[in-house]
Symmetry: C2
Subunit: 264 residues, 2 copies
């Protein structure tokens, strides 16, 4: 364990990025948080819209998008270029010295291309938290520089790979948890995990292994949330101190959202 104080890894989802007002509020709130801190962002619908405008057909396999070569170029442009630099420039304007990073930059995060069997997702990668260069991230954090990760990684052989932003956030949080106590905050457009997405009062305050099993069985947890929660438990098992799923507008409210915890 290193010498850094509590590290916050904050992931923002596509719905925050697509909404200019929500994004600007996030940037102001995030800039106000004490350091050390890290952002991980998804891409939002900009890449999909760009593919549509360029007549690049989008192939969906079991509900997930295939990243062919043309789509990889678009997501690299949109995630690593437009979205990343907009967030970085906006953070600078709020006094937060951010640096945008893909996994290729300083070779900080490598990914492995997902095997083409049983399903070929194209240029999609998976990350092993063990090979993230936490020393480089530590150098940045120690200099009070704030890493802003997009979800484009590389394989070390010259190929860029499109990764899942929740998985990037989780892997980065696991890697930096060896430097200092790390909290992972997954921010989106809901107050947290809800029993009923149409009922603002149905927020689940805490999910532990025991009630998670029950929530899954009863179907109370939306199927889209299951990979997010599974990811959260995996991060906790691998050293992350705390995981919270919350609304991006409640970033500065420590008692908001759904806490994922291994303890009852």
């Amino acid at each position: 364990m290193g010498n850094l104080a509590d590290i916050k890894v904050v992931k923002i989802g596509g719905n925050v990025i697509d909404n200019e007002e929500a994004l600007q509020q996030f940037v102001r709130d995030f800039a106000a948080l004490p350091s050390p801190k890290i952002v991980v962002h998804g891409g939002g619908r900009l890449a999909t819209r760009m593919c549509e405008r360029l007549d690049i057909p989008q192939q969906m396999i079991e509900g997930r998008r295939k990243t062919d070569a043309a789509t990889l170029d678009i997501v690299t442009m949109v995630y690593a270029g437009l979205v990343n630099k907009r967030i970085v420039a906006a953070l600078q304007a709020n006094g937060c010295r951010a640096i945008g990073l893909s996994g290729a930059d300083a070779d900080v995060v490598r990914a492995s291309r997902r095997p083409s069997q049983p399903i070929d997702y194209g240029f999609v990668g998976d990350i092993d938290a063990d090979i993230i260069r936490a020393d480089f991230i530590e150098d940045l954090l120690s200099a009070d520089i704030v890493p802003v990760f997009c979800s484009i990684m590389h394989d070390g052989q010259g190929t860029l790979l499109n990764c899942n932003a929740d998985s990037v956030a989780s892997a980065v949080a696991i890697a930096v948890s060896r430097i200092g106590r790390t909290e992972l905050q997954l921010c989106f457009e809901k107050r947290g995990v809800m029993r009923d997405v149409n009922d603002e009062g149905s927020l689940i305050r805490k999910i532990t292994p025991a009630n998670y099993a029950e929530l899954r069985e009863s179907g109370a947890v939306n199927s889209g949330m299951i990979p997010k929660i599974d990811n959260a438990f995996a991060a906790l098992r691998r050293g992350v101190g705390a995981v919270v799923i919350k609304h991006s507008a409640e970033l500065c409210n420590p008692s908001s959202g759904t806490v994922i915890s291994q303890e009852e």
Copy 2:
């Protein structure tokens, strides 16, 4: 003057980026150069083609492109995203630990939006070498990390600005010349400055203030080269040790190209 050995700042032009074979050769040659070293790249025709495909009209003013808001998004995507990350990933594959940077990243280079009078070029910026954060660049070089700059800068107020890549290369070279002796290499698809662009044997080996005046008067120097050479002399006056204009394929040949020198 700091403790770093000879620093090379290598700028590659659009014709190298547009030609996959030339780019791959450049990447291999650059990776083989001794450190410390820095790349600055332009964008090539990819951004123009992307604007055409997206039906974004390109407004030319006196032969130069206006960067309106829609065009700024495209150049940010293409230069800071696609081109920058492709170069970085290719360098990593050649054992060169590169990091892609826009000016907004770590607030390393700020630009000022060019005044809208007499000509409004839109979101175009000019750089003052004095406010480049050479300390951050020095930290990277000292860690044997290779900065790869695109030509997208920021104003510190949240606005990204499109800058001329030759000017970025020149400003970065001036800034790092305070850390160590710096050589600026401007690489493109010609052998150097030619008396006759159609005659490979007409390479001008050396341009000094005396023969430059004569070459301009006689019209022997192509008008497109004049800003490049003016830029080179300005860099020399402001501390850069040497400037060479050369073919990208002759990067590793120290006796190639046209040397720009203040001395006869």
